[in-house]
Point group: C2
Chain length 117, copies 2
DNA sequence: TCCTTTATCAAGTAAATACTTAAATAAAAA
DNA sequence: TTTTTATTTAAGTATTTACTTGATAAAGGA
């Protein structure tokens, strides 16, 4: 999974842009510019980073650039976190299995000792 | 969702630490230090950031600090990306519904015109 | 053609980040 | 108590980042 996605998401302004795009079909750059206090150039730079991270799609329409969210990148992020959780829980399950096996053995040994006494 | 999680995950070294922790039950800080080229102090600083983002748990054991991953934060991340996807797809579904309704209306109008002719 | 709209690129800057080495803390062992 | 082990904190620095203003590009309309 490319570094870029995580660094792109690290900035709160960029996450705001994505959340804005998630709720609507499409937005020309100018409408995105309008929603933020910072200069249009600053937002343009953020959009470039989002583009490079493949978090958004752009379509040229006359002078305008129409932005849309790319949910593929979201899926990637989701799978990364999921895989982390699963590796961890699989580890826990393995530990549990070992513990259970050990308990069984101990119980068995205890029984055998009691029988021989 | 706190900013901290995303910024914490933006650094590749910190993601490596998390991936290391995901595969094992627990690690004392020193074992984490050993796996990386950078100084133990640098890793210690990364661990602090992971702690503050609630991505890891720490347990004191004598002089050692035992680190474990906290999968709750992973779940949060997963839900954020999921909610983004769902908002987007819901939007698409709504658009589709509107399109279908319009097609139906057009077909109906067409039929009526044909009948009156 | 010239002007306007829409958007990006470029250069400069202040603040944040990831690293370094040196010093500090705190528990265990000698 | 002194020393060793494990880890963090502190201070300094080079690099990166997010912003600014000014210049540029590309399409549309007068």
């Amino acid at each position: 999974m490319p570094n870029d996605i995580f660094s792109a998401l690290a900035d709160p302004t960029r996450r705001n842009i994505l959340e804005m795009l998630a709720g609507n079909d499409e937005f020309p750059a100018s409408e995105i510019y309008d929603k933020f206090q910072v200069s249009p150039q600053a937002i343009s730079q953020h959009l470039k980073i989002l583009r490079e991270a493949n978090l958004v799609h752009v379509e040229k329409r006359a002078q305008q650039r129409i932005y849309r969210i790319n949910t593929d990148a979201m899926v990637e992020l989701e799978q990364w976190s999921k895989s982390m959780r699963h590796r961890w829980t699989r580890r826990l399950d393995a530990m549990e299995a070992v513990l259970k096996a050990e308990m069984k053995k101990n119980l068995k040994n205890q029984n055998e000792e009691e029988q021989s006494n």
